[in-house]
């Protein structure tokens, strides 16, 4: 037993060292974001001479961070909201209607997940361009199209745990279908809604290629703005790193508050 305990301590130390190695890119990013251009040139491994916020102030302004942050929040929030609402409705009726047709519809949605983005992006942009929908509203609709398949699949799976007698009781009490869904079923789907929300937020918040094809610079989300910003500051690492640090902060804060749900949600989404 003594030996097992010693082994555990060794494993613990290895684990913590590995975690520090894992974090080292973030550490190096933050430390060097405080340096001047000259200090970075002299060495990236040491600590900065003084803690000044100059780099951060300039990066914050050049990223128009408040604007980009709100653009990201609106696009991610609206997209995930409609994905949750419409996918849960679809998962509900597809699970309740046990006909061949329901099976076929579900299969079509699931099969569509096979299509990679690069195989549809050119006609997609061309079609939406023709009807003048290359804007935030068009983008949100596109996220519904790309995101609903996995979400419907997850909702459909979760519906099997919810008894039909609940629907029947609600209908007898005089509720219509939508009321039944909204007041009885949807609240019961909350755990899977959390999973669906997490998976879609991670994806949409970080997505670069689709917004780069749809949005202009005025409506740029954080990743898109980051791309322009980085191009502007090539070889000026002190500013680039300050910008990257700022861009990551919202994600780290979110992770800090919801890490348990995030890890569980991602596990659920992956294993299914």
């Amino acid at each position: 037993m003594q030996k097992t305990k010693r082994n555990l301590i060794i494993i613990e130390i290895v684990g913590v060292l590995l975690a520090l190695l894992w974090l080292s890119p973030f550490y190096l990013m933050v430390v060097n974001a405080f340096k001047t251009k000259r200090e970075i040139f002299e060495g990236v491994l040491g600590l900065p001479q003084a803690l000044t916020s100059d780099n951060f102030v300039q990066a914050f302004e050049d990223l128009t961070f408040i604007q980009s942050f709100f653009n990201s929040v609106i696009i991610t929030g609206m997209s995930v909201g409609i994905i949750i609402l419409f996918s849960s409705m679809a998962g509900y009726v597809l699970a309740r209607n046990k006909s061949k047709l329901s099976g076929v519809i579900l299969l079509v949605f699931v099969s569509a997940m096979l299509i990679p983005f690069q195989s549809v992006m050119i006609p997609l942009v061309a079609l939406f361009g023709q009807v003048d929908m290359l804007n935030a509203a068009g983008l949100i609709f596109m996220y519904l199209g790309f995101g609903c398949s996995l979400s419907i699949f997850l909702y459909h799976g979760a519906m099997t745990g919810i008894s039909v007698s609940l629907d029947e009781a609600a209908i007898i009490d005089g509720a219509n279908r939508f009321q039944t869904f909204w007041y009885i079923i949807f609240p019961l789907l909350k755990p899977i809604s959390v999973t669906v929300a997490i998976l879609n937020v991670i994806w949409i918040w970080n997505d670069y290629l689709l917004p780069s094809l749809v949005l202009g610079e005025a409506n740029a989300t954080i990743p898109l703005k980051m791309f322009y910003f980085f191009g502007q500051y090539t070889k000026q690492w002190h500013l680039a790193l300050a910008g990257l640090t700022i861009a990551i902060i919202p994600v780290i804060i979110g992770y800090f508050f919801a890490q348990k749900q995030i890890i569980e949600g991602v596990a659920e989404g992956a294993v299914k």
């Binding site: 555990l8 613990e12 684990g15 913590v16 590995l18 975690a19 894992w22 890119p25 973030f26 190096l28 060495g43 990236v44 491994l45 419409f86 996918s87 009726v93 597809l94 309740r96 209607n97 519809i105 949605f109 569509a112 096979l114 299509i115 990679p116 690069q118 195989s119 549809v120 992006m121 050119i122 006609p123 061309a126 079609l127 609709f141 596109m142 519904l144 199209g145 790309f146 398949s149 939508f178 991670i202 918040w205 970080n206 997505d207 670069y208 290629l209 990743p223 980051m226 680039a240 790193l241 990257l244 861009a247 979110g254 992770y255 995030i262 890890i263 991602v266 596990a267 992956a270 294993v271």
Partner: protein, 286 residues
């Protein structure tokens, strides 16, 4: 609920519209246009398989495809080894177990574009400084050669995704009944024997899942490619996804790029269908 029930269709309308307008119709349009000289606005002539013949003779596309295959193989192997090691590590009774999970998973939440920029700094500046300090020449000039660009992308992908694969393995490791482990301890099995004969066979399904998951993800990588190497030097680290975007939006060869997109779809579909086949087979075996 009857098939022609009004609510049935009402509840499905938004997602059917979404999927049709965003995925299905563009896909069918794209398939049609890949046989023409479409320039993004109009198509004047039907070319038959000309774009497809041209595509297989296109050095750049072939190079990108080959690079993507090599990258995917390296990433899939390393990611699964690393993910399994991390999972085995954090499922021991460690005090820091939860903390370690949180840390290893963290890079997965941040976008590939941002992570690629951070690692560009690590490879170019930090590696160079460490190399100079320790006198290791191999650490200088990263990302300026095809080889270092390749391994740079592999390292970035492993660092970003290992925590995700770890979580999949954890889910399966936790399903191993404790009695099995205890029984083997009483029987005097060494930790290697325990891993080989109990843990490994029970975690095998996770292997299939994460192998295909990592394969299809690494095959479709774009953001990391763009921000870490941007395909350089001389397009030698360019992957298929990026090559298609460039053909379309930098070179404006829409129909040609669309044909590449169709081939890309076929490859990804074959990977996915193989996975479904294996999963079905496994279920039968059990």
């Amino acid at each position: 609920m009857k098939n022609r029930d009004f609510t049935f269709w009402l509840f499905l309308t938004p997602v059917i519209l979404g999927l049709s307008l965003v995925v299905v119709i563009p896909f069918i349009y794209g398939l049609f246009y890949s046989f023409t000289d479409w320039n993004g606005i109009k198509a004047t002539t039907f070319l038959g398989f000309e774009n497809y013949i041209k595509l297989f003779q296109d050095e750049e596309f072939r190079a990108a495809l080959w690079f993507t295959i090599k990258f995917s193989v390296a990433s899939v192997i390393l990611l699964n080894i690393l993910g399994l090691i991390l999972a085995l590590l954090v499922t021991r009774k460690l005090k820091s177990s939860n903390f370690l999970r949180t840390i290893f998973f963290m890079p997965n939440l941040i976008g590939g574009l941002i992570l690629g920029f951070i690692w560009q700094f690590i490879f170019v500046s930090v590696f160079d400084d460490i190399g100079t300090a320790l006198g290791i020449e191999a650490l200088s000039g990263w990302l300026s050669t095809t080889n270092t660009g390749f391994w740079g992308l592999v390292i970035l992908t492993c660092w970003q995704m290992a925590g995700y694969i770890m979580i999949i393995y954890i889910a399966y490791l936790q399903n191993i009944p404790n009695e099995l482990i205890e029984a083997s301890q009483i029987d005097g099995a060494s930790s290697w024997q325990r891993f080989r004969n109990i843990t490994f066979p029970l975690v095998a399904p996770a292997f299939t899942i994460s192998m295909f998951l990592t394969l299809s993800t690494s095959f479709k990588i774009y953001d990391q490619n763009l921000s870490l190497t941007n395909g350089g030097p001389y397009n030698s680290t360019q992957m298929v996804a990026m090559e298609i975007v460039k053909t379309a939006f930098n070179e404006n060869q829409m129909a040609f790029a669309q044909a590449k997109g169709v081939i890309f779809f076929l490859i990804v579909a074959v990977i996915a269908i193989t996975q479904v086949y294996y999963n079905k087979k496994r279920e039968v075996d059990m």
